[in-house]
């Protein structure tokens, strides 16, 4: 049996009635290095419940880094100290005896807090419903191999499609921009021939939704790329901006497409 160690946790607490929260301090003993970070919080919550205290509200689901449910800021790092990882993949072997660990929720105005470490990220769904799809009804598709797709392009589309929608990019961005999230979906569908017919309206509508929902703009901080658990590249933002520019050039005069589109500034980071 491995030897446990002791830690102190400073956790953001906010009830459902409060507008703002505060940090509360908890001590936890006998933390096993092989525990995941969330299992450590499980142990703490079980202890709190048994002591008649309120457990910390914290979300997770798959615990294997793919559902995008868990999302915390640990000691100031979005998703914790490991690079390109989710909180559920973080293990306590990264910490040592006597550590003070600060835990906060993702903080971004388009993600309203619910309770303690739980936030509402449904704004990301709204961006997708603005155009993050191909309009094809079940049953109407042609034979799958009728349109060959260049392998390296398919790989690129897959790189972008790997996004888990955790919102870490938004939380890490000083402007709370969702451009990496949005750019990834736009890129995936812009690269694949299947997404081509709706290429123009997709980027216009998704960028409009993104702006409308209060997400900010990219100012080339590269923070989003640094924290993304799936290593989504910032070049996806560049591609989104090119798509956006292209759409504005070629889109025909259409009363449905107001000038508001031009609000999004076009910062084009260099393609790697």
């Amino acid at each position: 049996m491995e030897k446990g160690f002791n830690i102190t946790l400073r956790v953001w607490k906010k009830s459902q009635d409060e507008k703002d929260g505060r940090f509360e301090t908890y001590k936890l003993e006998n933390v096993i290095p092989d525990m995941s970070f969330l299992e450590m919080l499980d142990v703490l919550n079980e202890k709190l419940l048994k002591e008649g205290k309120e457990p910390i509200a914290v979300e997770s689901d798959c615990r294997e880094g793919i559902c995008g449910c868990c999302g915390l800021v640990i000691n100031g790092d979005v998703h914790g100290p490991d690079e390109h990882s989710t909180v559920c993949q973080l293990h306590m072997r990264r910490f040592k005896d006597g550590d003070i660990i600060t835990i906060e929720p993702f903080k971004a105005s388009p993600f309203p807090p619910i309770k303690d470490l739980v936030i509402d990220r449904s704004a990301l769904d709204k961006i997708i419903s603005a155009g993050g799809y191909v309009s094809v009804n079940a049953g109407s598709a042609p034979e799958a191999n009728s349109i060959p797709v260049n392998k390296s392009l398919a790989e690129k589309a897959m790189d972008a499609a790997a996004c888990i929608g955790c919102g870490a990019c938004v939380a890490a961005c000083p402007n709370s921009a969702a451009m990496l999230f949005t750019g990834a979906k736009i890129s995936q569908l812009a690269i694949l021939p299947q997404g081509n017919p709706e290429r123009t309206s997709r980027v216009l509508n998704m960028v409009k939704a993104m702006d409308f929902l209060g997400f900010g703009n990219c100012s080339n901080e590269y923070e989003c790329e640094a924290v993304c658990p799936k290593e989504i590249k910032i070049s996806n933002i560049a591609r989104m901006n090119r798509e956006f520019l292209r759409a504005n050039f070629i889109c025909e005069e259409d009363p449905e497409m107001p000038l508001v589109f031009h609000k999004s500034t076009v910062d084009i980071p260099e393609e790697e």
Binding site: M1, I32, D34, M35, S36, E39, M40, E46, L49, K50, E54, P55, A57, E59, S60, D61, C62, R63, E64, G65, I66, C67, G68, D82, Q89, L90, H91, R93, K115, D120, S122, L124, D125, I128, S129, A130, G131, G132, Y133, V134, V136, N137, A138, G139, S140, A141, P142, A144, N145, P148, V149, K151, A154, M158, A161, I164, G165, Q188, L192, Q194
Partner: protein, 636 residues
């Protein structure tokens, strides 16, 4: 209970077409008058919402997490089968049908399985069209890989994230319908009861997980797309939120529960590391394409794997099953691992693991190629175990992963309650006693995209609907019973947490009703579960907050698992044969393989709720095999 499977007439190739032609249609103008309730937003739920929305029905989708994209289908790794025969290696719809039925140990309905195989190709077409970035060959066409239980290469994949890509595809198709106004998504909702009026499912009672309010929704049909119940074992590869509650509510409202003892233990999972363990992580079955499974020849060999010479290793799957080798189906691989471990040849600190070794594949193909195929799995393994599997073999151990049993449904996917449907893993229909790899995604999408959109209209067009409103007494009664259950939990003053009860239940289930089951062990479980359940209601402790309260959610789920577990064990006790994932010690061949008993058990066991504290009633649907003669399932 009347069990009419409604298998259409005609030979097996024509049944689905015959059905579709004879099914009644709903006039496009009338579709928007029908309100469809869908519980769950995984592959089955999201694809059903999309396809029904596309047809113009009004769909309301309820889901537990903050976003429908987080449903547990997202975690499926390996791939999705289809009978495209792109490799021209002898595949066909008929062979996929044969493999699936045989893989399920002849405990599934022929007609359902054939339809699944037929639809498999349409699924791939549709997913590609919706922008799913499947792996491709250099020529730009779709790539395939092999998967356990098949000798052809028919599995389509998107790296080790196929479930994610298919779910995001279905989710985006559903979000398209949200934009179109046909689908509404209600997130952070847990369904707690189903309302039946005049014999028809007409609505649901859900709890708003943020406000704690009990909400009522009325509709013309209810579709349960709520996944499986592997979490009855506490430790499984399922996500923390996966639960039995919706299906259990359906069972109590008259839907039969079919073959609950058919649970799948997946052979390649990361072993547990301690008591704090909250879940087990799957390593995709696709790894067995390139890795070799072995244990030391000698008992209790504690040497490092690299110090054990080739001749002192037992590549037991290749030895016992030369025809399929490391690619035998999951149930076979899991039990073989258990036998090795029981012989004292397990590896790792606990001795509860076997090796999954990539050394030969890396030598042959190079690290880069292996990284391209499985990079994310190796990363995941490293994050959890702190070991680099490019250098040392992975340690793996079987873990509960999937449940073939589920709500009994007829050919139209309708349960024994009119207007109540079950799709995907929540139903029992296609995988028999064992599911082959890469078939779950296929079934979820077949049910959601292509089957329900043909069968639900037939129900809606034929049924006569009386008036139903959420103010009806049927709704009020359900609401009251849900509220009183919650009030009871909120006023409980015990000192054990819901999690402790759940873990204890899991131990009972794993020890007495796990990979191998005997009359003795099952009877032991049957005596322990009711005691634990009783203790739960007397001694559970939850945080007392009627609004956002995760301990209350956990308690509600655990309470249902504590009831359901007993039915699962009863079913396992009643089924005295071994078949697929269900292994009875009393029924095995001299070599220790599962021995099926077709004479006595070639049926679906359908359990009917008889009321509180009453023994459930066992009904049987006889399985007829007109096309494939059940044979001894040999992979040697």
């Amino acid at each position: 209970m009347k069990l009419n499977s409604k298998i259409p007439s005609g030979n097996i190739q024509q049944k689905w077409d015959n059905y579709k032609f004879s099914a009644k249609l709903v006039n496009p103008n009338n579709r928007k008058k029908f309100e469809i309730i869908i519980i769950g937003s995984g592959l089955a739920g999201a694809s059903a919402a999309a396809s029904l929305g596309e047809q113009g029905y009004n769909v309301n989708v309820f889901t537990l997490p903050d976003s429908p994209r987080r449903a547990h289908s997202i975690a499926a790794q390996g791939g999705i089968n289809a009978a495209k025969n792109y490799k021209y290696d002898g595949d066909s719809v008929y062979r996929l049908f044969y493999d699936t039925l045989k893989g399920g140990d002849y405990r599934a309905r022929e007609a359902n399985v054939y339809r699944l195989a037929q639809i498999s190709n349409q699924i791939i077409d549709h997913c590609v069209a919706t922008g799913v970035p499947f792996a491709r060959e250099y020529g730009g066409l779709l790539d395939n890989r092999s998967f356990g239980g098949a000798q052809v290469s028919r599995t389509f994949y998107a790296r080790g994230q196929t479930g994610q890509q298919l779910l995001l595809g279905a989710y985006s198709q559903m979000m398209r319908q949200v934009a179109a106004g046909t689908v509404k998504v209600f997130s952070r909702r847990e369904m707690l009861d189903i309302v039946v009026k005049d014999g028809k499912a007409r609505g649901v009672i859900v709890r708003n997980l943020v406000s704690g309010e009990i909400e009522k929704y009325c509709g013309h049909a209810v579709l349960l797309c709520t996944g499986g119940y592997s979490n009855v074992f506490y430790l499984s590869t399922n996500a923390a939120n996966c639960n039995i509650s919706a299906a259990w509510a359906a069972y109590k409202k008259g839907a039969g529960f079919a073959n609950p003892c058919f649970t799948q233990i997946h052979p390649t999972c990361i072993p547990r590391s301690g008591d704090h363990q909250s879940k087990l992580t799957l390593m995709s079955e696709s790894l067995r394409n390139d890795a070799r499974v072995w244990v030391p020849l000698k008992k209790g060999d504690k040497r490092k794997p690299s110090d054990i010479p080739q001749e002192e290793r037992d590549y037991y799957l290749e030895r016992i099953y030369p025809a399929f080798g490391n690619l035998v189906p999951r149930d076979i691989a899991s039990r073989a691992a258990k036998r090795m471990i029981d012989e004292g040849r397990g590896v790792g600190a606990t001795g509860q693991a076997v090796y999954l070794d990539f050394k030969d594949a890396i030598a042959k193909q190079g690290t880069e190629k292996i990284k391209e195929k499985y990079g994310n799995l190796f990363d995941m393994y490293y994050q959890i175990t702190d070991e680099n599997a490019y250098e040392v073999p992975m340690r793996i151990y079987p873990a509960p992963h999937y449940t073939m049993g589920g709500l009994w449904v007829d050919y139209e996917l309708m349960t024994a309650v009119e207007g109540l449907f079950a799709l995907g893993e929540a139903n029992f229909s296609d995988h028999g006693a064992n599911r082959l790899g890469a078939s779950a995604l296929m079934q979820g999408l077949a049910d959601g995209y292509f089957i329900i959109s043909s069968t639900l209209p037939n129900y809606l067009a034929n049924a006569s609907f009386g008036k139903a409103e959420t103010t009806d007494k049927e709704f009020k009664e359900c609401e009251e019973s849900v509220k009183s259950k919650i009030a009871k939990l909120l006023s409980a003053k015990g000192n054990k947490t819901p999690n402790e009860f759940h873990r204890q239940l899991g131990e009972i289930m794993w020890n007495y009703c796990g990979m191998s089951r005997s009359e003795e062990s099952l009877k032991k479980a049957l005596s322990e579960i009711p005691k634990l359940r009783e203790e739960f209601w007397q001694n559970v402790k939850i945080h007392q907050d009627s609004r956002f309260n995760q301990t209350l959610e956990k308690a509600l789920k655990t309470a249902d698992f504590l009831e359901f577990a007993e039915l699962l064990v009863k079913d396992a006790l009643e089924r005295k044969e071994s078949c697929g994932g269900h292994f009875r010690e009393e029924s095995k061949t001299p070599e220790g393989e599962a021995k099926r008993d077709d004479e006595n058990f070639s049926h679906v066991s359908v359990w009917e709720y008889a009321g509180e504290k009453k023994e459930p009633i066992l009904n049987k649907e006889k399985l007829e095999f007109e096309n494939l003669k059940p044979s001894v399932r040999s992979y040697k």
